[in-house]
């Protein structure tokens, strides 16, 4: 008898939307190089242009503001790298600005890129967050100055789901003449994102978080802001990102965004309700727990919970045996012993952070999935606690 399978790790990646898959299969025949002028090339170019139109429109920008990349991480790295590039080589308006402000709970691709800039002499401020995961705005206001070149703060956190007040963070950045970037990889397609309303200069997004393919991301670049390509070579993407475009992936990205136009709203409502059920079920059946993240300003499908006395990897693997896929910021799962930097930044003691799991729901999850999950989590936590040194 095959066991029930429940995928609850959508913040890690999502399954391909069937419509996206169809479009990608069709795109496989468009093998021409999009830079070629002949009909084969033009066929591929058309697919890319269509996707660019859709993505630009979805976030309230223009098609030409979209630069495709090989991943969301690449889009994020591009922004941080251009700061160094602008400061050192391009005589951009930011030459005299040598500080970036980011937060302690950013994705590793921002934190690592920032650390690399620090080694090259750029001052990086990592803003602390409150217990809910919201940026400490007082600290932000006190450190930003005319030395700040760039503020980069993620729109929605991948681990705890907290949504930041991006509009306000951007307003303050601009008041001081700094550029503003948001890593919106977990936000786009899940909550409304409009680059003009938010007032961002750069915004990163990725296809595989919204039922599109892996290996394709994009960066929104507001007209007129400084830019340096991260990948140099050919003249693709109007000279902003070299490398032959991933036609199939980009076509899939475009379709994934197109599907979001109609599916996002109803899905967000449905996921919010599933999340409320999941939360209530866990609360009712399992003692000694704590939900992490912001109670209201949070992604509809993301729930992070700490189970005292149970270690994250053990929870994850026992659930895996029941066919349920979740993720953990627990150290032991990754091999390093450091617990999740996000939970620690949000003030969780290490012993609580070790026992936390992230449940991230998506379009295929049903009420039955949630009922099954609550039942199994309760059994698993009970089993682990029975053999734990901490009850």
């Amino acid at each position: 008898m095959s066991k029930r399978k429940v995928y609850l790790d959508h913040n890690a990646t999502t399954p391909l939307h069937p419509e996206v898959k169809k479009v990608m299969i069709e795109a496989m025949d468009a093998f021409g190089n999009p830079s070629s002028l002949h009909s084969f090339g033009r066929q591929a170019r058309r697919l890319i242009d269509d996707a660019r139109d859709k993505i630009g429109a979805f976030i309230g920008g223009k098609a030409e503001d979209i630069v495709f990349s090989g991943s969301g991480s690449e889009a994020n790295n591009t922004v941080l790298n251009l700061l160094y590039c602008a400061a050192r080589h391009c005589e951009a308006p930011h030459t005299k600005r040598h500080q970036i402000i980011t937060s302690q709970i950013e994705h590793p691709c921002i934190l690592e890129a920032a650390a690399c800039l620090e080694e090259r002499g750029i001052d990086v401020v990592y803003l602390p967050v409150h217990k809910t995961g919201k940026i400490d705005m007082d600290k932000y206001s006190s450190v930003i100055s005319d030395k700040t070149a760039l503020v980069t703060v993620m729109m929605a956190n991948n681990e705890i789901g907290t949504i930041q007040d991006i509009k306000e963070i951007g307003r303050i950045a601009h008041k001081h003449g700094a550029m503003f970037h948001t890593d919106a990889i977990q936000a786009v397609g899940k909550i409304p994102v409009n680059v003009h309303e938010l007032g961002v200069d750069y915004l990163s997004l990725s296809a595989h978080k919204i039922y599109g393919p892996k290996g394709v991301g994009a960066l929104y670049v507001s007209p007129g802001v400084p830019f340096c390509p991260f990948i140099r070579g050919g003249h693709q993407e109007r000279g902003r990102r070299a490398g032959t475009e991933n036609t199939i992936g980009i076509a899939g990205f475009g379709k994934a965004i197109e599907m979001r136009v109609t599916e996002m709203g109803p899905e967000a409502k449905r996921l919010s309700s599933l999340k409320a059920k999941l939360k209530a079920g866990i609360e009712k059946n399992i003692p000694n727990i704590q939900f992490n993240g912001h109670p209201i300003d949070s992604l509809p499908g993301t729930l992070n919970v700490s189970f005292f006395g149970a270690e994250g990897e053990a929870i994850l693997l026992y659930l895996d045996l029941e066919g349920i896929a979740v993720s953990t910021g627990s150290a032991c799962a990754s091999g390093s012993l450091d617990p999740s930097h996000v939970l620690i930044a949000a003030g969780l003691p290490a012993e609580e952070a070790h026992g936390s799991i992230r449940i991230s729901m998506g379009r295929d999850n049903t009420e039955e999935d949630i009922g099954y999950t609550v039942e199994k989590i309760a059994l698993v936590i009970d089993k682990i606690r029975k053999m734990s040194t901490v009850r």
């Binding site: 150290a331 012993l337 734990s388």
Partner: protein
């Protein structure tokens, strides 16, 4: 789950993880002859090992445990509780983490550290038994001092790491994992690193 998507763990680890043996379910009611506890929950893993001793044969009659930790930590303590039964105290005392990993059919490299605490807890339990029974002469005075509280790394291990080739703090961390949690031992560890380098390698 599908067999074609294997876990990173061996079937034996998986078996012990799924069906842990000899769990110490009611610690208060368990009349142990020796009890050891190592690690701490702040760092991630914590283990309690409790033993009963066959005093005539001087062997371990029963071994029970509790573990706060990941799958490899749970499986390590579980298998340990089986293999030590019947062994003399001396044999059990000298079991190594490597022996345990071997019994489990191997552990992924990044999980070896999770198996280390099990044998340390067992050692602590045997030492506790020796101490309770006036056999302190049997407790091997390693003169080890814990330098990194979080990862339970001693000065002896630091010396071993230096002898194995660690020359910088980073290499020392790669060998021992010390300072990878709270980092408070960093200064002390660097000082010791330099001392051992001088002791063994200065001309």
């Amino acid at each position: 789950m599908d067999n074609k998507f294997e876990w990173v763990y061996s079937e034996k680890v998986k078996d012990h993880f799924m069906h842990p043996r000899n769990v110490l379910t009611d610690e208060a009611a368990y009349n142990a002859d020796g009890r050891g506890i190592v690690g701490n929950i702040k760092c991630g893993d914590e283990m309690v090992v409790a033993i009963k001793v066959d005093k005539k044969k001087n062997t371990i009659a029963e071994c029970k445990w509790k573990t706060y930790g990941c799958a490899s930590a749970i499986a390590s303590t579980s298998i340990l509780s089986e293999i030590v039964v019947g062994k003399t105290l001396d044999q059990a005392y000298h079991l190594t983490a490597k022996d345990i990993a071997k019994e489990l059919g191997g552990l992924p490299e990044h999980k070896i550290h999770c198996s280390v605490l099990g044998h340390k807890a067992l050692r602590a339990a045997i030492e506790d038994y020796y101490t309770r029974n006036g056999m302190t002469n049997k407790v091997e005075e390693e003169k080890a001092h814990i330098i990194c509280q979080c990862m339970n790394v001693t000065d002896i291990e630091i010396e071993e790491a230096v002898l194995e080739g660690a020359r910088t703090y980073l290499e020392l961390q790669e060998h021992t994992k010390l300072g990878t949690v709270c980092g408070q031992c960093k200064d002390k560890a660097i000082q010791m690193l330099e001392e051992y380098k001088k002791k063994h390698f200065s001309k």
